[in-house]
Amino acid sequence: MDFDLADEQSLFKDAIDKLVQKEYGFEQRRRYAAEPEGWSRRVWSQLAEQGFLALPFDEAHGGLGYGPVELMLVNEALGRGLLLEPYLSTVVIAGGALRAGASDEQLALWVPQIAAGELLVSLAYLEKQSRYNLADVATRAELRDGEYRLSGTKIAVLHGDSADRLLVAARTAGARTDEEGISLFMVDADSAGLRRRGYRTQDGLRAADLILSDVAVPAANLVGRIGGGHALLQRASDYAIAALASEAVGCMQAALEMSVDYLKQRQQFGAPISRFQALQHHAADMLVEVEQARSMAMLAALVVDDVDEAERRKTLSAVKVQIGKSGRIVGQLAVQLHGGIGVTEEYAVGHYFKRLTMIESQFGDGEHHLTKIAAAGGFVSVTP
């Protein structure tokens, strides 16, 4: 085990940190949010140019072949900068599903486009009733005349409004909550019969709801085994949890630093408020949470590619629980320590708080994962 950055990793981290620092001041972010797509194409091209979009994909398919640790470093930086760009949706989540299930031909076709920043893909898996159950898919796909026809509704598709393609989970067999019988299809965003409505999300990012009415998809755009999509959704969820964990750590670290700076600079009763011991202890508690969360983000990077599926899933559930808990404490305390300005849109700390809040409700909240761990018997073995 080695917790120090290797030289190459350091370069990598420096590069992404520099990019975020240069391009993602709070004012700049506000401007990007006002752009038509709600994020910056220019920043996206820079991410592409520096190779960040190619990061996790195999070299054979046109990627860079880096592992989860490097992805962790990138996502932490993105969290620090509260990036609005579709990195999570395209590279991590859709990219994760593709890495897990797409054929070599498909990957060879799509990865270079993703890497170049030319192709945005969003995974459309969530439906209004599905909550955190990946197997709950009512959207149907039927094979007719050599094509699949998709009908159904999807909600909260991250960056679904600017995506060029949507990776849609649809049922080719089975009942609504069966794990078997879900298939993934790469659907062109401008397909006939596909309507989408984009909206800003609570954390300032973008999402879309989709209605698919008999949308035609060529058989070649089936990703993975027919009916075997659930496993790919799970892999996408694994990658998403690991990425959200490191993104959350970035948010928390930034929120902590801002709060500490604020405490030192804000004067009240004739002295900096950092003098008040109760506030000092709030800051100390935040730090404790950040470190616990950081440990778990690292653990996520270790297990996200673990072949032992039960262990992997259980551990990632633990990661998500800790991230949610730490994120809640750090976000809430950061706002509290800032007082009034903490609840204004004009000040960055509230935005970290909102992002951390939304991370909690993506890919299962703490309670959901806690129940899963308990049902799986936990980690420590039993002895008298």
Partner: protein, 395 residues
């Protein structure tokens, strides 16, 4: 960064396990796992046994009989011993006195004390705290006045863990009261049999005797028993307090408690069912487990820093102390709750078998009560938060 564990460490873990399987008698293990305080005999006997394998002072430098293990291996060793139920070794001697002695002691002092300690022939007691100097250690009042080639020591010390086992004591005394509180403190070692030394038990809330207070009444201590320079003792003691911070989350203890919790929850009746089958109770166990996982990883990160001799740049020791101690108390409370009616019985150490309840019940609540101390000693959690806030965050 590479988070894959080292296979060589894994092999080392197996080696330790095999050693424990062969050497640790079942009854000794059972006694220690129960949660009652260990006996002096068990501690010294186990130290002697480890000594024969060369493992009694793993973290000392090799030249003084240490093992040369990496911090990670020391952690593995400690965890395996603890989980198996091995008795502890004298913490005051190995973790506190040893490092001061081999760092600041004279050659003669090293020769007199290091080897016998390692052999399990000397039990040490620590005399730092005083009734009116808890977290504010530097305000200590015990005096040592020079009288020829002796110091005459007067004062009162408290919280001497296992002091009634001690053959020798080490003590912080004030040798110069005119200077700042931190200066003017010296570090003495005192024969526990010296005239004027009185060790009095403090019965703790688990109804057990492991703590003591020590009265020093005109105790004559040869100047040769002073470690290092006169009036420089504070810097030696500070070194101790910062020592071993990567171990301060007590991950092994937390693991053992959790595993016992699960065992008890599986035995405990809850109406007609087992408590562990209650989804809410098992979720609470899961919560504690997640906390433990995060702590274990934070510990691994801290060990890696130690290994590199690097300062983590973070107050990791404080974070580990705060969270590790809180977790011990949280799991302890879950154990008492899981035991239900048997969590309330005062099981005596000697004939608990005659009382109702599962065998696993004995000692658990006593341990829970005693572990109220973990958020208080070694720098209370409030002090740790001050360290984080002031020392690290710069508030």
């Amino acid at each position: 960064m590479n988070f894959q564990p080292d296979p060589a460490d894994q092999a080392f873990r197996e080696e330790v396990r095999a050693f424990l399987r062969e050497q640790l008698p079942v009854d000794v293990a059972a006694r220690n796992r129960r949660g009652f305080h260990p006996s002096k005999e068990d501690e010294l006997w186990w130290t002697q046994l480890l000594y024969r394998r060369g493992w009694s002072a793993p973290h000392w430098p090799v030249e003084y009989g240490g093992t040369g293990w990496s911090p990670q291996r020391r952690f593995i060793f400690e965890e395996e011993c603890f989980l198996a139920g091995a008795p502890p070794t004298c913490a005051a001697g190995f973790s506190l006195l040893g490092p001061v002695l081999y760092t600041y002691g004279s050659d003669d002092q090293k020769a007199r004390f290091l080897e016998p300690t390692r052999r399990g022939e000397i039990f040490w007691g620590q005399l730092f705290s005083e009734p009116n100097a808890g977290s504010d250690l530097a305000s200590l009042k015990t005096t040592a006045v020079r009288d020829g080639d002796h110091y005459v020591v007067n004062g009162q010390k408290t919280w001497t863990t296992e002091g009634h086992y001690a053959d020798w004591l080490f003590c912080l005394v004030r040798t110069d009261s005119s200077s700042k509180p931190q200066r003017g403190i010296s570090f003495l070692i005192i024969d526990a049999k010296s005239p004027g030394v009185t060790i009095r038990p403090i019965v703790s809330i688990d109804d057990a005797h492991t703590l003591n207070e020590t009265f020093l009444d005109n105790v004559r201590v040869p100047v040769a028993n002073r470690i290092g320079e006169e009036n420089a003792g504070w810097s030696y003691a500070k070194l101790l307090l910062e020592h071993e911070r990567a171990f301060s989350a007590e991950v092994p203890r937390n693991k053992r408690l959790l595993s016992q919790l699960k065992h008890i929850a599986a035995l405990a009746l809850d109406g007609g069912a087992r408590l562990i089958d209650d989804p809410l109770f098992s979720s609470r166990i899961a919560e504690a487990e997640i906390e433990l996982r995060a702590l274990e990883w934070l510990t691994l990160r801290a060990l890696a820093d130690m290994d590199h001799g690097a300062d983590a740049g973070r107050p990791v020791g404080s974070v580990l102390k705060v969270r590790g101690s809180e977790l011990i108390q949280k799991i302890g409370a879950l154990i008492v709750e899981a035991l239900g009616p048997y969590g309330l019985i005062a099981y005596p150490e000697l004939d608990f078998e005659t009382l109702p309840g599962p065998e696993a019940a004995a000692g658990k609540t006593a341990d829970f009560l005693y572990r109220r101390a973990v958020t208080i000693y070694g720098g209370s959690n409030e002090i740790q938060r001050n360290i984080i806030a002031k020392g690290f965050l710069g508030l």
